[in-house]
């Protein structure tokens, strides 16, 4: 097991860490399949409002590859189809029935995964609505089955500081994990399994072979365990730039689907709420926010990852790629002489507040703490970027229309962790600018 040495990143002490206990949630009255959290998708709806669907039935597909299916997490009538701005498909909401009726596929035994023809396996996973769990760098689109990746990174931990603990996802799912790993071995000889240092002990306690399959541990500095940051650390040649990655819960789902022939509907979610330590929640795919988090305080913001998630409306459902819900308070109202206060209660990665002398849990809120200004070249973004980018210079190259220069400076190495925007004292939306440019470049190349 190797240790990744990532020193740049966010290492403030944040409160609200979820408890390691796990509670079961009842079946909610509605479930949904989201399109809002799926990168690059051009959705094509396959069902109508009022139509009855079974669990595992395709609800929409991707116009770019119609063999990829996004399937229903529950059984019942399609209650409504929600569109976002410019008629972008956001959610297909199902009014759930208490009994699940499944679309049944043939189960595949663990030993047969190795023997099964490759395209048959891919078709099987696509039909099950799980192929898209495998993502391909650098744009993190769904994996191209005709491409043989130099390595596949298995991320045991999620996108947020407090994503579900891998040990809780793995509990009772060791077979599924092994089946999932068997699938990955069909596509690449090199599997990189990365886990946070703090998660390792919990996995060891499971008393199984999973801990032996972990190849790298990452320090507890966000985002050291992100696939994008891991790839940047371990890659050696340019061909590795198109590696694949998959998150643990999707890998387990893949394995479970193959072994049982049914769409695995279970999902572990963590909720962080100011001043509370909530347990892990064992619920369904596509749970509504109201069933997960209960009452949301009026002035709060709900996201699926404080650094790089998506903003959730109060009636939203959680997506396939999301397993964390952060409830973040708005800060106090405009503070008098806020810039001149000693700032014991103001967490900062800079050393300009007294809070930097203490390592107590930082209280984060969802306000900008300042106003947008021109870039002053301070290099705070460079100092925090885990992938050694210079976001300010890339931003300037992009503003100048110099895409080639931005690419040469490593634009496509950006892992969209959000830390450059977090640290910027001029409050420039660096992550947004870089991320948009990456997506535009990727779309252009397709």
């Amino acid at each position: 097991m190797k240790t990744l040495k990532i020193t740049r990143g966010f290492d403030l002490n944040v409160a609200e860490q979820p408890d390691l206990s796990c509670v079961h949630l009842a079946l909610p009255s509605s479930l949904a399949c989201c399109a809002g959290d799926i990168p690059h998708i051009r959705p094509k709806l396959l069902v109508k409002e009022g139509q009855r669907v079974k669990t595992g039935q395709a609800l929409f597909t991707d116009k770019r590859d119609t063999t990829i299916q996004y399937v229903s997490p529950g059984t019942g009538q399609v209650e409504k189809v929600i569109y976002g701005p410019r008629r972008r498909l956001m959610e297909v909401v199902i009014a759930t029935e208490s009994e699940d009726g499944y679309i049944e596929c043939n189960p595949v035994a663990l030993d047969d995964i190795t023997g099964m023809p490759g395209d048959e396996l891919v078709a099987h996973l696509k039909k099950g609505g799980l192929w898209q769990g495998l993502r391909q760098f650098p744009a993190l689109d769904f994996a191209d089955p005709d491409h043989s990746p130099a390595m596949i990174i298995v991320a045991m931990d999620g996108n947020d500081l407090f994503s579900p603990h891998p040990a809780i996802i793995l509990k009772d799912s060791i077979d599924a994990f092994d089946a999932g790993m068997a699938v990955l071995r069909r596509f690449s000889h090199r599997l990189v399994v990365v886990c946070r240092e703090s998660s390792l002990a919990g996995i060891r306690e499971l008393d199984c072979s999973v801990a032996d399959q972990i190849t790298h541990t990452a320090p507890d500095i966000y985002p050291a365990w992100h696939p994008g940051a891991v790839l940047y650390q371990i890659r050696q040649v340019a061909t590795e730039n198109s590696s694949w990655c998959i998150r643990l819960d999707h890998l387990v789902m893949m394995g479970r689907f193959l072994l049982s022939g049914r769409y695995p509907v279970e999902k572990i979610v963590t909720i962080t709420r100011p001043g509370e330590r909530l347990p892990h929640m064992r619920g369904r795919q596509g749970m509504p926010l109201s069933a997960l988090a209960g009452e949301i305080p009026g002035n709060s913001m709900v996201t699926t990852g404080r650094f790089n998630g998506r903003l959730l409306e109060k009636d939203a459902h959680i997506g396939f790629f999301e397993n964390t819900v952060n409830i973040i308070e708005a800060g106090a109202e405009e503070q008098m002489f806020g810039f001149a206060r000693p700032g014991l209660d103001k967490p900062s990665v800079s050393a300009t507040f007294l809070s930097s002398l203490f390592r107590g849990p930082a209280k984060m809120d969802c306000t900008l703490h300042g106003e947008a200004r021109a870039c002053i070249n301070c290099s705070y973004c460079e100092r925090i970027c885990p992938n050694d980018l210079m976001p300010a210079f890339i931003m300037k190259a992009l503003h100048g229309g110099e895409l080639e220069e931005a690419l040469a400076l490593g634009l496509m190495d950006c892992c969209k962790c959000g830390l450059c925007s977090f640290a910027c004292p001029s409050k420039i939306e660096l992550t947004r600018i870089l991320s948009d440019a990456m997506d535009a470049y990727y779309k252009d190349k397709q």
């Binding site: 404080r306 790089n308 001149a340 900062s348 300009t352 507040f353 969802c366 200004r373 021109a374 001029s426």
Partner: protein, 387 residues
């Protein structure tokens, strides 16, 4: 009870926003409001949490670091005036007299500077940046206390308008605005910026020249260090700063305190300061080792070069201006070291300009983008390509 200031801004809001009568002057109203009340808009795009550091805090730390220099400068102005008058004055009297000379300079600098900022913000309809908080204080500290106030106004105008606003405002300027203003005055009004202008007070008693240490040369085979000592500038005094000079530059000690504050809070990049001091020390040792010139500044050695003149002030507060310095770390080392090198070279090689640091910094400001360009080229070549 509602904060009365808060109430004032709430009441005046309709006048300055939307279809208000004074909509044009919204930037002025906004700048005043945000000075009192830190704006805290909600985040709309990821990441949803943000660091507490903003530009107001950033600039406030620089102001904090400038306070020791400013207060010492005020005191020393009075103290030198006392010596000039041939009397020994109490601390209070020194302070009051110093404030009498220095405070009007600071006030004029801020008022005129902000007037220009407001004008440009109103014309262009953008927010007022915090950069002037620093520029407006830095600029008067680089001037002799005897300077006429109209020249202060002219200098800050040139610095703000030509040094900054014509390029688009804070963050887009090439040169340090405060130094640009000073250079303008230095070349336009040499009479008030050089010679015996460094001591406030109308008449100096005999034997007090009111010149700075840098203008000393050894005569008749006397070594330069002895000459500097004899002229009333022993090293200890140069370090503590009880010598004539520009308001803020005299005390090496206070500059070092400011440098420490800036480096500990990481507002200034330590690479520039350390690189600059290293460049100056190494260069001054090299010119010291070159034979000849016993009576000139080439033989003064590193300590005198470090403590005399405005080098420490310049490298601490001017060179570390992030906007006009390079944005890459190797670039910053080279930038700092080159300033140290050029300062000594100008002092030694060109006695017409006794103070080299101003020109050295401005010169390197111009080269900062080139340094960045080279570093970026090199760094790009080392990356594993990903296109």
């Amino acid at each position: 009870m509602k904060n009365p200031l808060r109430k004032f801004f709430d009441d005046t809001r309709p006048l300055f926003t939307g279809d208000g009568k004074y909509k044009k002057y919204e930037p002025v109203w906004d700048a005043t409001k945000t000075f009192f009340f830190l704006p805290s808009a909600k985040t709309r795009v990821m990441p949803f949490v943000r660091d507490h550091l903003d530009l107001k805090r950033y600039m406030s730390i620089v102001i904090l670091a400038l306070l020791p220099v400013t207060f010492f400068g005020i005191y020393n102005t009075g103290y030198q005036a006392g010596i000039g008058a041939g009397e020994s004055w109490s601390v209070t009297r020194c302070f009051l007299l110093g404030a009498w000379y220095v405070l009007p300079m600071i006030i004029v600098s801020y008022v005129v500077g902000f007037a220009w900022e407001f004008l440009f913000a109103v014309m262009r309809g953008h927010k007022i940046s915090e950069g002037l908080l620093v520029t407006g204080l830095l600029f008067p500290l680089t001037l002799p206390p005897t300077i006429p106030l109209w020249q202060v106004a002219l200098g800050i105008s040139f610095g703000v308008v030509i040094g900054k606003e014509v390029f688009g405002g804070t963050g887009r300027n090439i040169l340090n605005p405060a130094l640009t203003g000073r250079a303008f005055l230095f070349f336009s009004y040499p009479v008030t910026m050089s010679g015996d202008v460094w001591v406030a007070g109308k008449h100096l008693v005999d034997g007090v020249t009111g010149a700075t240490a840098l203008s000393v040369t050894g005569a008749g085979g006397q070594s330069i260090t002895a000459a500097i000592r004899d002229a009333g500038f022993p090293l200890g005094q140069l370090f503590t700063g009880f010598v004539p000079g520009s308001v803020g530059e005299t005390s090496a000690l206070c500059c070092l305190i400011g440098a420490a504050i800036l480096m500990v809070t990481r507002i200034a990049n330590y690479r520039i300061i350390i690189g600059g001091i290293a460049g100056l020390v190494i260069t001054s040792i090299i010119v010291y080792l070159i034979p000849g010139g016993q009576d000139a500044w080439s033989n003064a050695g590193p300590f005198y070069h470090l403590c005399a003149g405005g080098f420490l002030f310049g490298i601490t507060f001017m060179a570390t201006d992030p906007v006009s310095a390079p944005g890459t770390n190797p670039g910053r080392w080279i930038f700092g070291a080159a300033i140290g090198f050029l300062t000594v070279i100008i002092r030694v090689g060109n006695p017409a300009f006794m103070e080299g640091v101003m020109l050295a910094i401005l010169f390197m400001n111009v080269f900062a983008p080139l340094l960045d360009h080279l570093v970026l080229k090199y760094k790009s070549s080392k990356r594993i390509p990903n296109v």
